[in-house]
Symmetry: D2
Subunit: 264 residues, 4 copies
């Protein structure tokens, strides 16, 4: 990666990250491909799903995937995908901690099997418990501005509202609500789920989001390393534009050519 275009680093819970692109680790066709893609895109935070059952049944449960997640490069953020309620999510988080992962968690509770949309009630409940236990909690939520504020009130380190359903590639369908969440936020806002193209990621950054989390669109690409770099470039471009300030939209046209500059 060349020198980034944006200047302000992403800081979550006091830790600085080298990129505003966060990446999920599902759906890659192999661990080798995942490792290469993560390296290529320059991310500093990757999420890993905790399985719901059999958490202690193996001698070396992390062997499979964690060998490929270089701890000197990334914060490995366990997520509670698969948890149906607060209790399950809390239990999963504690098991991850016991297994040696850092005390950070992406809280993800979605009882809905079709759209995998998050449960606001159980998410707040689990967040309260985990924050009290000392966790850095990053909750995945619907684009609900009031819930976002409540999660900040109980001490979450970020809020992670969805752009559209997980894996749908539909981009920022919740844009109007995201704008309000960003306007009111006191912690970093990470747009999570639905980011299916570099332009979606750039648009999220231009709106003032602090980071995006991308998984499917990178993992299933024909070349995940190259696609990861494309997302990284778009995130950087969108963020740089946000930092510089973009022009307002106008109804009327404005001539770019004053018609005096040339041949005059």
């Amino acid at each position: 990666m060349s020198q980034p275009l944006s200047n302000e680093p992403l800081i979550i819970a006091g830790r600085e990250f080298p990129s505003r692109l966060l990446v999920g680790t599902g759906k890659f066709s192999s661990n080798e491909q995942m490792r290469d893609s993560l390296r290529a895109c320059g991310t500093g935070l990757v999420t890993v799903a905790l399985k719901r059952a059999n958490l202690s049944s193996k001698a070396d449960p992390f062997a499979d995937i964690l060998d490929f997640l270089e701890p000197e490069r990334y914060l490995v953020l366990p997520n509670t995908a698969g948890a149906m309620n607060a209790e399950e999510a809390v239990r999963l988080a504690r098991l991850a901690l016991a297994a040696g992962l850092p005390q950070w968690v992406k809280l993800e509770i979605h009882p809905d099997p079709n759209y995998l949309l998050p449960d606001p009630i159980e998410t707040l409940k689990a967040a309260e418990i985990l924050v009290k236990e000392g966790w850095t909690v990053m909750p995945y939520i619907n684009a609900d501005p009031v819930l976002a504020l409540r999660l900040q009130d109980v001490g979450c380190a970020t809020v992670m509202p969805l752009g559209s359903p997980i894996g749908s590639n539909r981009g920022l369908e919740t844009r109007a609500q995201l704008e309000i969440i960003i306007e009111q936020a006191r912690v970093p806002v990470v747009i999570d789920a639905g980011i299916g193209a570099p332009s979606h990621a750039a648009a999220a950054m231009e709106m003032g989001a602090d980071a995006v989390l991308v998984n499917t669109a990178i993992a299933v690409a024909s070349d995940p390393s190259l696609m990861g770099r494309a997302f990284a470039a778009a995130v950087d471009a969108g963020r740089a534009a946000y930092e510089l300030g973009l022009g307002a939209q106008s109804r009327k046209a404005e001539a770019t050519s004053p018609l005096t500059a040339f041949l005059g």
Copy 2:
């Protein structure tokens, strides 16, 4: 610039360009700032407005701006902004040629003072004349698929449909028509006008446009060099995603986490 992410070069009328970002030269606060921004963004094609009047009244009419447009870096594409009809546009083009510019022209005929929207009739008329005289003609048009085909039929080298009114920063308002133009095109399609943010530029490339032309959003930025680089990065990212192929949008969610990879 590091190695670009996209692989297929932009070729117009047999000439290869180093970038799919084309840049206009209006509205920069100084020629020095313009020069630096053009260098920084890596473009290989810049447009320059031809003034409507007094075309031959100065001893060295190009001194002011052309000194800053390094010919070894860029194809300098004169545009006919300010022409109200075909006759004026043709006359302007010929004067530019006489003054030593290459025989390329961005045909831009907009009688509308409010929105600076192009005239389809006069544009086709001028294109016919100039193509017969041997010009490489790049017409700026409304997002009109039938007009786009007709301009290709008379031998234009590209079509340049607008995304939204010039200088409006409103992005791809004509997306539905642009998709048809791209689907039917036999020459490169350059999205011109209205591109106000890197995400707009990335989205244009993801749709399959061959290039974008940006001016206002770069020229009036607080740091035009950095903004130029941000647009270049977004164009490259969007194009790479197009070349790799983006996933289809889906109604339902798809879990990114198979819930079996970890702790299993």
Copy 3:
């Protein structure tokens, strides 16, 4: 009103309503104007805000507005606007009941002073309490599909997701989430808030919403009676189209003219 175009009546909690247009009573310039508008639009359900304080301080607290809400025409639905949490909402509802209003309530809890967006946690909490006490509960919520399901699970009679912030006239900004809520609903879905034009109301019905609640756009119109009728007509038209089934959108054109019907 002439014979309605739609055939399936709106039924909430076993009660049939003559119209799918529900109307709020705030912001009218006078009670007389409100009364006339309500009559003109043919609604059968009107909401009335319960004041937060001084609920029992007047001898005849309903005199002012309730004289104008003809009980033989409308179900008067008290709403808890102004409540900041579940406790306040429950207290307001009980006072309304004590004052002689029916045991129906529009549950509306919005701590956010800027956007008046609803609180998911407190809303569910209040709904649970009120349903157990025998209320017919109609909760105003963000467009959150999981919350909508949970409120149905505890026995709410409808869900009332917002289209956009109250009074914003921005229409169906949450369309993607509304579609999911409608698809999964087991009770009537009422689109509440943000409906600023008849086309918004028609679009909500075409999506399959069971009703819309409109207030500002009718109440502040230059002629609230006529605007009420316009919304009623749009609701009826949109519902009829939904019942008949609308054609799918297609990418390609289809000639309407077989070119054989005439002069052949």
Copy 4:
């Protein structure tokens, strides 16, 4: 039909029409069904396609369809669908006149077999010829503001920009350009093509369009009479709202409930 909600009549070329809903006659499953639908929706202007060939080959060429188009109810507007260029369109129009139809024509020239999009050049050419011959010309065009002005300059009685491709049901995809056309218009603007739902028709009227032309969505409905009435109601509602004036969209919410009206 009950008394319409809108008050200002549609007047084209000095003739007043009873409805702002114009209807095409293609695709109905039978002439009887068409007749009933046209009666039910209250339109006063119906278009009929002129076949490209064999225009004079039958003894009574109008027998088939014109028997069902009651001349005391409707202006029968021949359209030139199927014409590939100006010459064919002009010839078709003249044959219709010779056959006894009024000297009005919907000019429709679309060489594009996939999207049936109109040709701007040939349309202007044919319009010039026909206006000079004394025709009332209503041209079907892309949403091109400059072309719309030029057609007005040569004396067309309306402009009929498309919302989206014919038969696509995609609604007002060209909204941004339509707004400019309406703002600049000196003759009635009829939105033609793509109107697939009552909400689309209402939205067109709310924008300030003078009329809409609908065909497919009515003709192929399971009950074309009822669907025709639904479109008529939506057009009337949208127009009434336009005449009354709709509220501006706002970023912030505005409470509808002053929280003082009730129980106070």
